[in-house]
């Protein structure tokens, strides 16, 4: 196929992004070809800024502009609770709820021997360091409810047990506003097992 080389390169690069297939990559590239130069310049600038201006928070490993992220710096935040999550994207999801006012800790993955992630490659040592002193009273484990997340939660729970903290795990069950009849069997099953007294 004869496609101009710069276009071909752009399509290949865009196609490497998550949830972008070949056709979408091609549509995006062609759209950029037709766009005004400043549209492309702005995009390039925004992308470059991502890499140049962002780093990981030195305390919780959230994505941050400065050395310490806004959440860790905030005086309004409850410093007695740390919520442990897998990725920075999970922080965004929890923050949107406005239900949580504590701090976070990003592990940067979960235990998965098949993909070569073990406890040393996660930010677990860093978490233990944060727990020195007696500011922190509670740890919430908010990892995904899949097998890897489950194993990691169990591992952390065991590791943290000697520290005499309150260790909790987020509940699993039915989505709010969801119809019981449309939920899948496994979810309903778990929700029944994890029922609470009123």
């Amino acid at each position: 196929m004869l496609i101009a080389e710069p276009l071909q390169t752009a399509i290949e690069e865009l196609g490497k992004l998550p949830s972008i297939g070949r056709k979408t990559a091609q549509r995006l590239a062609l759209h950029l070809v037709k766009s005004n130069p400043e549209v492309v310049e702005n995009l390039v600038a925004a992308l470059t800024a991502l890499k140049e201006n962002l780093k990981l928070c030195s305390v919780c490993y959230n994505i941050s502009v400065e050395d310490t992220c806004d959440i860790c710096k905030s005086v309004k935040r409850d410093r007695a609770i740390i919520c442990v999550v897998e990725e920075a994207s999970d922080i965004i999801a929890i923050e949107k709820t406005n239900e949580y006012n504590g701090l976070y800790h990003v592990l940067g993955g979960v235990l998965s021997p098949l993909s070569g992630t073990d406890a040393d490659s996660l930010k677990i040592k860093e978490l233990l360091q944060r727990l020195q002193g007696d500011t922190v009273k509670e740890i919430i484990l908010a990892l995904n409810p899949d097998t890897e997340g489950e194993a990691t939660s169990l591992y952390l729970a065991k590791l943290l047990k000697p520290l005499s903290l309150k260790i909790t795990r987020i509940a699993r069950g039915l989505p709010i506003g969801g119809d019981l009849e449309f939920a899948d069997e496994a979810t309903i099953g778990r929700a029944v097992i994890g029922r609470i007294t009123l």
């Binding site: 235990l111 998965s112 021997p113 098949l114 073990d118 406890a119 899949d146 097998t147 890897e148 489950e150 194993a151 990691t152 169990l154 591992y155 065991k158 590791l159 899948d184 069997e185 496994a186 099953g189």
Partner: protein
């Protein structure tokens, strides 16, 4: 549910066949290699989007042609048209339900429940323990989505844990043992859920099996499936025993780098009058047991799903004496719709095609009503 009409184009020997089926028994008679089983294969394809005999789709296409097509009209409360089209040049199959293309086979599976009895099924009683586990897992999965999900998770945990065992073996890094503990705990959680499901299933299924067996053989032979699982009656006790077993085997597991205990290793023993079928059963007893298992599966699924599956029996009468064959043909009348292939009808005169049942002959890919 039953299959009312089937149309085959370039489907193995069938260049163009159109068959109207009875909603009761359909006997398909013909010599070897004439295209009897092909009809079952097509029915299976339409119900599951998968192959009955694990050959590739390109082999199903009639020689000199480049596509095959099968259409089926299913009748339940509504009429559903299921169609599968395979194109050889691009090696792709297309599946349509009421002329709407289906992209995920999971949206078809379960819509048309089906039970099959074919030659490879002899391994359920005569083969390795894994074949028996596979049968049990398959029947439970078809009636419980929860079980299927836990099973998939469980298999994932097994893989992760095995990988970790290898890693510990290779690196001799014993700080990883703590991680192994958490994988062990996850394994026990998921595993004991599987075990509880299986215990409940077996105690239920044994009644179906006894009933089916007594319909085929009126003598005092009593079949029984025994499930060997970690000891205990409550979920907690089972979990504890499973955990203890894993603790005991830990050294061995680290040496052999594999998961040595759990539902993936639990055995099912089939017994007749208390004797182990695999050790003491005759060929005839094996065959009868296999047939009873499938009938039991049929009635179990019918009750659990509240829908009647289609029953496919490929050449089951070949190895049976005429007494058993006759019994089975009477039993089949309780089933609903079934498709039965036979090489020779005259040998089984007593099968007699009753009213409402159909008899077809197949010769070199051509179907005739007899």
């Amino acid at each position: 549910m039953y299959l009312k009409e089937l149309e085959l184009i370039n489907f193995r020997l069938h260049k163009s066949s159109k068959i109207n089926f009875s909603d009761k028994l359909n006997y398909i008679v013909g010599g070897n290699g004439q295209g009897k089983t092909t009809i079952l294969e097509a029915v299976y394809f339409l119900c599951t989007t998968k192959n009955l005999l694990s050959s590739s789709e390109s082999e199903i296409v009639n020689f000199n042609e480049n596509f095959f097509e099968a259409k089926g009209k299913f009748k339940e409360l509504t009429e559903d048209l299921s169609r599968v089209l395979y194109q050889k040049d691009i090696n792709k199959k297309f599946f349509y339900l009421n002329e709407k293309q289906i992209f995920r086979s999971s949206s078809v599976i379960g819509k048309f429940p089906i039970v099959t009895l074919t030659q490879p099924d002899h391994s359920i009683t005569q083969g390795a323990p894994a074949d028996r586990r596979k049968f049990v897992d398959m029947v439970i999965s078809q009636t419980s989505e929860t079980y299927l999900k836990i099973l998939i998770d469980y298999n994932k945990i097994l893989k992760q844990r095995a990988r970790l065992l290898i890693q510990i073996f290779e690196t001799k890094n014993y700080s990883l043992l703590q991680q192994l503990d958490s994988w062990t705990e996850t394994l026990v959680e998921a595993g004991s859920e599987l075990i509880s499901h299986r215990i409940a299933f077996i105690s239920d299924f044994n009644d179906y099996l006894k009933n089916a067996y007594s319909k085929i053989l009126e003598n005092a032979e009593t079949p029984y499936i025994e499930y060997h699982h970690p000891e205990g009656t409550t979920a907690e006790e089972i979990k504890k025993d499973f955990y203890l077993k894993l603790e005991e085997l830990k050294g061995e597991e680290l040496r052999r780098c594999s998961n040595l205990a759990g539902p993936h290793r639990d055995e099912f023993t089939f017994r007749i009058n208390g004797l182990e079928l695999k050790k003491y059963g005759s060929q005839g007893q094996h065959k009868t047991f296999q047939i009873a298992l499938k009938f039991a599966q049929f009635f179990y699924m019918k009750e659990k799903l509240s829908r009647t599956p289609v029953f496919l029996l490929d050449d089951v009468f070949g190895e049976l004496d005429s007494y058993r064959a006759e019994k089975i043909s009477w039993f089949l009348r309780e089933v609903g719709q079934a498709f039965i292939t036979l090489t020779d009808f005259t040998r089984f005169e007593k099968l007699n095609v009753g009213s409402g049942n159909s008899l077809f002959t197949v010769k070199n890919g051509c179907v005739e009503y007899a």
